[in-house]
């Protein structure tokens, strides 16, 4: 096995005296798909927020490709190659579909104000590239986000399309590691199946390493190489889906203590 792409040691985050993450260790190697599961309030989203820099961690080490990214600003972390989606879909609603994906390439492009003012050759070339890449990425989702959709503002999209656009936007930052926060939430069964396939394709066709937070156990089973279970900010189990799903501790975390569950 190659060296890990992301290596987290003893990551902690405390909110107002409540420990949202209490010393989590985590590791993912290039090309893996890992699911993070756990009951509500287990600290999954905090885990993502801390990795992507939205919250600075209280303690712990986040090594991405061997260098510590803990405490960096989110934009710098994205620049290094970690991109994410949000649980409650946060697009730029008044920008068009295409603009949403174009703006995400910001950290991979360089032309600032003066080239834009004078429309230098470099600027025009870069702009053409950005547009082309955005169109390619949107094409990854079939025809749903292409054609006349390009120039529609994001707020007119259907819920499922917004989820797709958010993934497209994350892809456009050209990351190595993709963090998907509940990508299938609120989708109907058919869309869920389709998205499950898509997550696989993100690895096989696009070469991303993926961490998924997911509630739908079918999706978890189908996509993940490995499953990590969080509860109250602590990792309580790790392994393949089959290994994890049979552990008492995991079942307990989901259903409560047997005494209560049985009652």
């Amino acid at each position: 096995m190659s060296s890990p792409l992301l290596e987290i040691r003893d990551l902690s985050k405390v909110f107002g005296g409540i420990s949202a993450l209490g010393g989590v260790d985590f590791e993912i190697t290039p090309g893996e798909i890992v699911s993070v599961i756990g009951p509500n309030g287990a600290g999954k989203t905090t885990f993502f927020n801390t990795i992507s820099g939205l919250y600075p961690p209280d303690s712990g080490v986040i090594l991405f490709e061997g260098s510590d990214v803990a405490g960096l600003n989110p934009d710098q972390i994205t620049r290094r190659g970690i991109a994410r989606t949000f649980q409650n879909v946060r697009l730029f609603p008044n920008m068009t579909v295409l603009e949403n994906v174009m703006v995400a390439q910001h950290c991979r492009t360089t032309k600032g104000m003066w080239p834009a003012l004078f429309q230098t050759p470099g600027f025009r070339r870069e702009e053409a590239e950005i547009r082309q890449r955005a169109e390619e990425i949107l094409g990854f989702f079939g025809t749903r986000l292409t054609g006349y959709r390009f120039d529609q503002p994001a707020f007119v999209l259907s819920y499922a399309n917004r989820r797709r656009l958010e993934i497209a936007r994350a892809m456009a930052t050209q990351p190595k590691l993709l963090l998907l926060d509940e990508p299938t939430a609120g989708m109907n069964p058919r869309e869920t199946i389709e998205l499950t396939g898509l997550i696989g394709k993100l690895r096989s066709e696009m070469g991303f390493t993926v961490v998924v937070i997911e509630h739908d156990m079918k999706v978890v089973r189908d996509v993940s190489d490995r499953v990590v279970v969080l509860d109250h900010g602590v990792k309580i189990a790790e392994g393949t889906y089959e290994e994890v799903s049979s552990q008492d501790q995991v079942i307990e975390a989901y259903l409560g203590r047997p005494a209560k569950a049985g009652g």
Partner: protein, 425 residues
């Protein structure tokens, strides 16, 4: 000192962020430095016998307190509205002005009574002013803010700016643009009275007493009454509160009404102290009171009062304190500054070595400006004096600098915001 690892971390940061952190640190350091120089200088001058007399000082302090309590009264309105609806009600200064204006007309009509039976006249004036302010505040809420419930919070802010202009110029259209002068205060209030060993102008004592009483009343209302409980519930979470059977609209109206009433009281007091009122009277006290609310921690009632008093004191003593810069720094002070700066350098190096990248800029700031401070303290400062003529003109500027400084150094105010802690995401 700098390990290769630290250097790598510094290099990994992007230049603009680092520069900004650095610049912010410089600003804060400058504010703190000038502030402490002014304060220490004033004390030193006083000790040397060049400063104000004790009587003058007590005037400054009492004046500041009176002014501050009025700021506090107005600030309560900002704070309560911010707590419940989460936006800055820019038009609150105008609510204050309408109260003051109404008070003038009533006081003018009662001119005879004002001389002979002052308490009665004062009571009537206060009541009518409170009635007017409350009515204006509630009408403003109904027209301009209720339709915007749930809009992004910059929208009601912009609306309130429009409202502020509207009220100002409506008042101008109604009563004209001349200065209206309150009737002369009765004898007893113009004289100095002795209170707690201080010789205080009667009117200032009245201002402080009335303001304290109103604040106490409000405090009781919010913390003891049923409606007060509802207000607190709504400021925690509007939706949950409405699920619990609280009529949110009524609570919001009550909030505006109570805030308006406080502004009305402040309006009369203000006009009695400064005698004049005209249609633009509300602007500056409005902004200052907002500063006070932020200073104390917006959404926090105690904070509003504390912030008001603090701001009043800073403003009143500001020109005197600026005079403190005239103090010639002795060599011992220069050495002290150097020592402190040296400590800053060491402290900064510690931060730099252990810090997460987010705090690196500040750490470097400590190192850099600490080094400057060492040099400055030993070479430049001893013997330096700064004389600023016309310091009293800078009163407003000091208030605004306090606002900026507070929002830079401690954005949640002295006592902290009572709003639900806003998470970063």
């Amino acid at each position: 000192m700098t390990t290769p690892n630290t250097l790598r971390r510094i290099l990994a940061l992007d230049a603009p962020t680092l520069a900004v952190d650095f610049f912010l640190f410089a600003l804060k350091a400058m504010l703190v430095f000038i502030g402490s120089w002014a304060v220490i200088g004033t004390v030193a001058l006083h000790v040397a016998g060049e400063g104000l007399t004790a009587a003058a000082w007590s005037d400054v302090v009492v004046g500041g307190l009176a002014q501050g309590f009025m700021y506090g009264l107005i600030a309560l309105g900002y704070s309560m509205v911010y707590g419940v609806l989460g936006f800055i009600n820019f038009a609150h200064g105008e609510v204050f002005m309408t109260g003051s204006m109404t008070g003038f007309f009533v006081a003018d009509a009662l001119a005879g009574l004002w001389e002979t039976a002052f308490p009665l006249a004062f009571g009537i004036v206060i009541l009518s002013s409170v009635a007017a302010s409350t009515a204006v505040a509630v009408i403003i809420e109904r027209i301009a803010y209720r339709p915007l419930r749930g809009a992004p919070r910059l929208i009601p802010l912009i609306t309130s700016i429009g409202m502020s202009f509207f009220v100002q110029y409506a008042v101008r259209g109604l009563v004209g643009d001349s200065f209206r002068t309150y009737p002369v205060l009765p004898e007893g209030l113009r004289d100095r009275v002795s209170f707690l060993g201080l010789e205080i102008e009667g009117i200032r004592l009245l201002v402080i007493v009335v303001a304290l009483a109103s604040m106490a009343g409000l405090w009781m209302f919010v913390n003891r009454s049923r409606t007060g409980r509802a207000i607190r519930a709504v400021s925690e979470d509007k939706e949950i509160a409405s699920l619990m059977g609280i009529d949110v609209n009524r609570v919001v109206v009550t909030t505006f009404a109570v805030g308006g009433a406080m502004a009305g009281i402040a309006g009369v007091l203000w006009a009695m102290l400064f005698r004049n009122v005209y249609f633009l009277t509300g602007f500056l006290p409005g902004i200052k009171a907002f500063t006070a609310a932020v200073l104390g921690g917006i959404g926090n009632l105690l904070g509003a009062m504390l912030g008001g008093v603090t701001l009043g004191l800073i403003e009143a003593s500001g020109p005197t304190l600026i005079g403190g810069l005239r103090w010639e720094l002795p060599i011992s002070m220069g050495i002290a500054v150097s020592a402190l700066s040296l400590f800053g350098v060491v402290w900064g190096l510690r931060i730099v070595r252990n810090a997460t990248p987010g705090r690196l800029g500040g750490g470097l700031g400590y190192v850099f400006f600490g080094a400057i401070g060492v040099v400055l303290g030993l070479v430049v400062l001893p013997g330096t004096t700064v004389t600023i003529p016309g310091a009293s003109q800078l009163k407003d500027m000091i208030a605004f600098l306090v606002l900026i400084g507070v929002l830079m150094i401690r954005p949640i105010g002295l006592l902290g915001e009572r709003l639900a802690v806003e998470e970063r995401v």
